[in-house]
Structures are given as C-alpha cells and as structure tokens.
C-alpha cells in the first residue's frame, strides 16, 4: 500500500503539488487524472524518489521514503516498475538489452535465465522475437510495450504508468490498456496510472482520483466518477472547455 499525506512540491516558484493526500491500496489500480500541467508526473516522480517533495509524507508498505539514503531508496525503487511517457528506452541498447538491464544490474541470474526472462516479458506484451531490434526502429506503440516489458522484468510489487496511452492511436491505446489490466491480473501489482485519457482511466482504474490545482479534489470508482455531478470532474470527463474559455475571456 502507498500512502501520501500533505505532499507539496514547488517548481519554478509555483506550488505544483499543494497538499496531496492519496491512498493506493495493495493490489489495486488507482488512476490519477487531471489536465496537462497539473503535476501528475511530478507526483509519480516524488513517489519513486526522482524528485524530493518540499513537504509531506510518502509511505510504501508503511516505510517512509522521503529523505531516505540512496541505498535504502534504491531498495524501495527495486520494488517498483515505471513506464515513462516517451518509454525512455536506451537508444544505444537493443530491445533485449533494455529489458535485461535491471536484471543484469540487480540479480545474479545466469545469461540464459536472463535471456529467457526477457523473451517471456516481451511475449507478455505481444512483442516476441524483437530482442535484437534497436528502439529507433520501433513504432510508438511498440516502444511503450518494450518500456512496459522492461518495467515488469524484475517482478515489481508496484507499477507507475506516466501517460501510458498518450500519442497512440485509439487501437494501440486499447492494446496498452488491456496489457495494463492483464498484467495486474497476472502478477497482482499495485498500480498508479497517470493520464488525461478518460477512456484509458475508465478501462484500467479500480479507483479514479482527480488532481486539480495541486490537490486531489475527487476520488471514486469509475461508476462514481461517471455518476458524479462535481463540476470539475464532469467538465474533465466530458472534455468541455467552457470554464477555460471563461478564464481566457477575463
């Protein structure tokens, strides 16, 4: 379980996160939705220690992670897998080497065992046999899936997805959504998905949380989100820009 309390983060003089409280129960997938620039990715980076919050508390299975020394923080990170918005594959490595990297760095598995694990994870994401390809020769959807295979190489207990369907066509976005869902069922991970793609949010989320102006302003199941009359949430899921136009007109 991940517990976040009073999380605050200031970037370029602005409080991007201004008191975020959020619980991610074990084995569940929580989708954090919100408009671009509301700090969704910053939230993920704080959870995995790529950024340090200015205030607040983050606990993973009851263990506080803010301010941990590097070695202990790395022990926490090894329990996480993260899928980045642009996949963040290493251009200089092949697909197989990308997926194998965390295994080579953190395990004593033999070359054969690593090769077999890599092949298995690539098969899980529907990309069997692409080990020798370079990331530059992959399509956007394939890159995302390789990023996903790399994130699950170490059998993580937690998965963080940063805009997993952004930039993909609707069919490929659906493939990614199904993969996220099937991985959750297959390995029972606790996941946080950050997205502004509502189709994806409803598909993969057990719970949805709306981040607005640095705070979580609404949480609920997909059904509750669909039924809510909360104006901010309704505007977001319907994709209307009236309030924005109002602001622009002022």
């Amino acid at each position: 379980m991940i517990t976040i309390r009073g999380l605050r983060k200031k970037l370029s003089g602005r409080w991007v996160l201004d008191g975020v409280d959020l619980d991610i129960p074990a084995g569940r997938t929580v989708v954090v939705m919100g408009r671009s620039g509301t700090g969704k990715s910053v939230l993920l980076k704080n959870i995995i220690g790529l950024m340090s919050p200015d205030a607040g508390r983050i606990e993973v299975d009851g263990q506080p992670v803010v301010g941990l020394p590097e070695r202990e923080l790395n022990d926490v990170r090894k329990r996480f897998g993260m899928v980045f918005q642009g996949a963040a594959l290493f251009d200089s490595l092949t697909v197989g080497e990308n997926v194998a990297l965390p295994l080579r760095e953190h395990t004593t598995l033999s070359r054969e065992a690593i090769r077999s694990r890599v092949a298995e994870r690539l098969e899980w994401v529907g990309l069997a046999g692409v080990e020798g390809m370079k990331p530059a020769s992959l399509s956007g959807g394939m890159r995302k899936r390789v990023g996903l295979a790399r994130a699950i190489a170490m059998d993580p207990a937690y998965m963080l997805y940063d805009e997993p369907t952004t930039g993909l066509d609707p069919i490929m976005a659906d493939v990614i959504n199904r993969l996220i869902r099937s991985l959750q069922q297959r390995i029972g991970v606790t996941s946080i998905v950050v997205t502004h793609d509502m189709a994806s949010a409803f598909h993969v989320g057990d719970e949805l949380a709306m981040l607005h102006e640095g705070r979580i302003v609404f949480t609920g199941t997909p059904g509750e989100v669909r039924a809510t009359q909360e104006p901010l949430v309704r505007q977001f899921i319907e994709g209307t820009s009236e309030a924005v136009e109002g602001q622009l007109g002022e």
Partner: protein
C-alpha cells in the same frame, strides 16, 4: 544612479553565486564519480565501448591535425632560424615543442571539441527523453553507469592519442624538413635525439591525463544539466565544448608551472 549601482551590484552578486554553485555542482559530480568508481569499473565493457568512441573514432582527426601541426612547426622553425640558428636543430625544436605543448594541448582541444560535444549531446538527449530518470527509477546510479565509463575512457585514451599525435607531428616535421627545407633525414633525426629528455615526454602525458578527465567531466556535467528539448541539448553541447577548451588551457598553465618549476625543475 544609486538604483543603477544597486542593480549592477545585485547582478554581479547573482553571477558570483551562480558561479560558486556551478563549481560546487561540478565538485559533487567529481566526488560521486570517485565514490562509484569501483562499481563502475566492474562493468568494464562500458569503458571499452567508450574508449572506442572517444579514442578510435577521434584518431583520424588527430592524425590530420598533428601531421599539419608538425609540418607548420618545421616551416616556422626554418623561417625563424634563418641566419641565426643552424638548421640542424630543427628536429630538436619540433620535438620539444610537440611533446611538451603542441601534442597534448592540440589533441585535448580537438578531442574536447569532438568528444565533449558528443558526450554532452548524448547525455543531454538522455536527460530530456527521461532515460536518465529511467536509470534512477531502476535503482541504477546514473553517475556510475554513464559518467564513470566516459571519464575513465577519456583519461585512458587522451595519453594514447597524445603519443600518436606526437609521433605523427614529428613525422610531419620530418617530411617538410627533407622535402622543402633541404636538410637530410640523418640531420633531422640527430636533432631529435640530441635534446630528447624523458621528462619532456612525461610532462606532456601527465597533462593529457588531466585533460582527459576535464573533457569527460565537462561533457557529462553539461549533459546531465540539460533542460528543455532540442534547444537545451544545443546549449549544453556548446557549454561543454567551451568549458572543456577553456579549462584545458587553464590547467595547462597550472601544470606547466607545477611540472617545470617543481617536479621536473632539476
């Protein structure tokens, strides 16, 4: 007037603080490099890859520049010797100027331009495409994985390239001496041998070790500090090259004093 003075003072104060902060960040990167050196060297394959990129791929450029440096040194020496110093000393002058100064410094400036830019551009692209974040998220120390192999490879390859540059520059000088200045090979080689001191060679090689470290660190530092997109990568690349070249010249002056006034003074 007072407001203007205050603004000027504030500007200078900020620039000074920025400069101090920058020095501190570079020092921290160096410390982290030393701290992770042992584990970084365990993956020696990464160092070998970088030795190929930094050393082997720079070789042709070093060959061309060194050949012409030696040739120009011969022409200049002949011009300045005319009616003053016997031409038999051309080999001696070329040898000493090349192995003490021209070989190490020109090699460092060429490699600093080529390799410093390439390291900064590569790491800068990795920064803006979140590849460095991905390393950290996988609990892999990016300094150990990216900086250690590049700095170690640069420290190993700069002296190697410098030795090659020395040999090629001396060859360039020989070619010009026998074809257009009119001295024999025997005279040129006698001149080379007459004033050859091992300490001159060592001084150049010691300098090149420091130059290699500077080039590696500046490329990595500016690559790591890249912000924004393609424009940020361009800025980082320029900064890395400028910082490498300026620091090579400053360190050259400092080491010249240390080596020739103290260590090799006798």
């Amino acid at each position: 007037m007072t407001a203007l003075t205050l603004r000027g003072y504030e500007f200078l104060r900020r620039r000074a603080l920025d400069a101090i902060a920058e020095v501190g960040r570079v020092a921290l990167l160096m410390l982290e490099t030393f701290r992770t050196l042992g584990r970084g060297l365990r993956a020696f394959r990464l160092v070998v890859d970088q030795m190929h990129t930094i050393g082997v791929q720079s070789l042709m450029l070093v060959v061309i520049v060194s050949l012409f440096t030696g040739a120009v040194a011969a022409v200049q020496a002949a011009y300045q010797f005319s009616n003053v110093v016997p031409l038999k000393y051309i080999g001696s002058v070329i040898l000493r100027s090349v192995i003490i100064e021209l070989g190490p410094v020109l090699t460092a400036l060429i490699v600093g331009g080529r390799v410093g830019a390439s390291i900064a551009a590569e790491l800068g692209s990795m920064r803006v495409t979140e590849q460095i974040d991905a390393l950290e998220a996988m609990a892999i120390n990016p300094v150990r994985y990216l900086v250690v192999p590049r700095v170690v490879a640069a420290v190993i390859m700069l002296p190697v390239l410098t030795v090659m540059a020395n040999a090629i520059a001396i060859t360039g000088g020989w070619m010009v001496s026998i074809t257009s200045i009119g001295i024999s090979s025997h005279t040129y080689i006698t001149g080379l041998k007459q004033f050859f001191y091992m300490k001159d060679l060592w001084s150049g090689l010691i300098k090149s070790v420091f130059f290699g470290a500077i080039i590696g660190w500046m490329g990595c530092y500016h690559g790591f500090r890249t912000e924004g997109g393609a424009e940020g990568v361009g800025v980082a690349t320029t900064r890395a090259v400028v910082a490498s070249c300026v620091q090579v010249l400053i360190i050259d002056y400092v080491l010249a004093n240390v080596l020739f006034r103290f260590i090799f003074a006798s």
